[in-house]
């Protein structure tokens, strides 16, 4: 069954239209944020009923005022740093807990490991609203209120379960011969894991790193309630707290913060995307 040139052109057109549609859907809010970032307020606050006023373009000269507010009058760079700092620590803790647990569940616990792994995964489902109150108490009991450490303590509750489960699948996918041959050569099990299994698991670990980092960046409820000093906040909370002042939204600065935060993260994700895909596929289905 040969396809005519016409139908091939048609197929290409349809394909491009689909791609374009999705790109527009994904990017439109960012475009809108970017425009808002540089618009003067008097250009911004024109009702949408005014069809003569095109909101997509600059009707008045662009301004850097909103960026000036974001960088000059808020602690935005500090919040970025805090987010990254918490992210790195939480990811490390997640790896320290989830990698051994994942391996253990995959190889060393036999039948009940399966059940246990599902139990662990299910704890990921417990809604944060339920845990909110007990956590407040725990954080205070440990004297961690209003410190970034409170978040470091709490955040692994939503990264560890899922990542353990993912890594378990990943380890299952590795042939058992990997460790066994090393053990025949006189390695202990632990040595075999360290020398043979871990190097092979880099894609899986990378997946977990990106995944955990995403969840940390997205979180805002705990961060909102456990951190009260502006200089210790994360981006998700600091930006709205500083720039939504009750009945005044600093739209330009808010949008700027969102876009400036997102772009570098998106770049990093893109770099590792293929490996992430590989790791996730293996980890998730096995």
């Amino acid at each position: 069954m040969r396809r005519s040139p016409l139908s091939r052109v048609l197929a290409t057109v349809v394909h491009r239209v689909i791609i374009l549609g999705f790109v527009l859907f994904a990017v439109f809010p960012f475009y809108w944020m970017a425009v808002t970032t540089f618009k003067q307020n008097s250009d911004l606050y024109v009702g949408a009923t005014n069809t003569a006023h095109n909101p997509f373009i600059f009707n008045e000269p662009p301004t850097l005022d909103h960026l000036r507010i974001l960088f000059g009058q808020t602690l935005y760079p500090t919040w970025l740093f805090n987010t990254l700092y918490i992210g790195v620590i939480v990811v490390s803790i997640t790896l320290l807990l989830a990698v051994p647990a994942g391996y253990s569940l995959a190889r060393l616990t036999g039948r009940w490991g399966e059940r246990l792994s599902i139990g662990i995964f299910l704890t990921y489902l417990v809604p944060s609203t339920l845990l909110f109150i007990p956590f407040s108490r725990l954080v205070a009991l440990l004297g961690l209120q209003n410190t970034t450490w409170s978040l470091v303590l709490i955040y692994p509750t939503f990264t560890v379960p899922f990542c353990t489960w993912l890594l378990m699948g990943f380890f299952k996918s590795l042939p058992k011969e990997v460790e066994e041959s090393a053990m025949v050569d006189g390695c202990s099990r632990a040595g075999a894991i360290w020398r043979m299994v871990l190097p092979l698991s880099i894609p899986g670990i990378l997946t977990v790193v990106i995944f955990a980092l995403t969840l940390v960046i997205q979180e805002f409820v705990y961060s909102l309630t456990f951190i009260s000093s502006v200089q210790r906040m994360t981006v998700s909370v600091g930006v709205p707290v500083a720039l939504v002042r009750g009945d005044v939204y600093y739209w330009g600065s808010l949008m700027a913060a969102c876009i400036i935060t997102s772009v570098p993260i998106a770049i990093v994700y893109n770099i590792f995307l293929d490996r992430f895909i590989a790791g996730f596929t293996v980890g998730a289905i096995k």
Binding site: F22, A48, L108, G110, L116, I118, V235, V237, S262, F276
Partner: protein, 304 residues
């Protein structure tokens, strides 16, 4: 697969078992202390009249549950939770499939397209939703401006994205799909990539049309990864309150609440912790159903 030491699982060496316990212990301890115990405390609070989370309370038995079930706002939010989860996840899976297939082909600018499509995944939701809030704003909505200019909205016509219960639900689902789509697409892309080219060729030789091919070849092979994508999406969506809380705060007139956001409003904003916990507990039956699905799907993966 047989190796020299292949024995039944019970035959794990004792040292391996010990190592297994040691390796599992930290994660297990952490989860028990920080999820399981707090969870039990929360269940316990749902039977009390604790205000603002103080541990100074008295028991009220099932009164919280009785009040909650009788409350129309709760019943609405229960329904919304299912609508929200179902519609957004079906959309994500369908759109994700289309997009993943489109991205399988080679074309110019693919890297850029991929980067742009991935952007929503990188945006912190509390900030991204503010962007959407601005887009859906009743006075300044750029969508309405556009519709007006191209003539879809006549004089005096207007869409109140966050003011109409139905449109507000549409807006919430749109934002959620927007943020979930990149991730699901990536997962599905992984699934598609893992199907060997020979499978397609064999199907072509058998004379299968594109639709038959999709349903008889691709779909069955994609099933495990599809299950994972769906499961993850459902889990994530079902307990998520961020989009609702940030976009509509449950409005208009408490008509767009989902269980998680209602629990937050009653329990934390309203200070009635017992009631909030009671609302959130209604998520549990679904949690159990998901557990069964998981057990089954993981067994199937093992059989394969």
């Amino acid at each position: 697969m047989t190796s020299t030491k292949a024995k039944p699982l019970e035959g794990l060496r004792r040292s391996d078992r010990t190592l297994g316990m040691v390796m599992l212990a930290p994660a297990l301890t952490y989860i028990t202390l920080l999820v399981a115990l707090p969870f039990l405390l929360a269940l316990f609070l749902s039977l009390t009249n604790s205000s603002a989370g103080s541990l100074d309370f008295s028991f009220v038995g099932l009164e919280n549950f009785r009040n909650v079930i009788g409350n129309p706002v709760f019943r609405r939010s229960l329904r919304n939770t299912f609508v929200f989860t179902l519609v957004s996840q079906v959309s994500v899976i369908v759109l994700g499939n289309i997009l993943a297939r489109a991205l399988m082909k080679k074309f110019r600018g693919k890297t850029v397209a991929r980067f742009l499509i991935l952007m929503p995944w990188a945006a912190p939701i509390s900030l991204a939703t503010l962007g959407w809030l601005w887009i859906f704003d009743s006075t300044f909505s750029v969508i309405n401006w556009l519709l007006k200019v191209i003539g879809v909205l006549g004089p005096g016509q207007w869409y109140y994205w966050l003011g109409d219960p139905t449109l507000a639900m549409v807006a919430i689902i749109t934002v959620h799909v927007w943020r979930m789509l990149p991730f699901s697409t990536v997962i599905l892309l992984a699934g598609l990539t893992s199907i060997p080219a020979e499978v397609h060729e064999a199907a072509d030789i058998d004379g299968a049309g594109p639709i038959a091919k999709a349903f008889q070849v691709t779909l069955p092979m994609m099933l495990p990864i599809l299950t994972v994508a769906l499961l993850f999406g459902v889990v994530f969506t079902f307990t998520d309150m961020s989009v609702v809380y940030l976009l509509t705060r449950g409005g208009p007139f408490n008509s767009t609440h989902v269980l998680a956001s209602l629990a937050f409003q009653d329990g934390v904003l309203g200070g009635d912790v017992g009631r909030g916990a009671a609302v959130a507990i209604f998520l549990l039956p679904v949690l159990l159903v998901l557990a069964v699905v998981m057990l089954r799907s993981s067994r199937r993966a093992e059989v394969q």
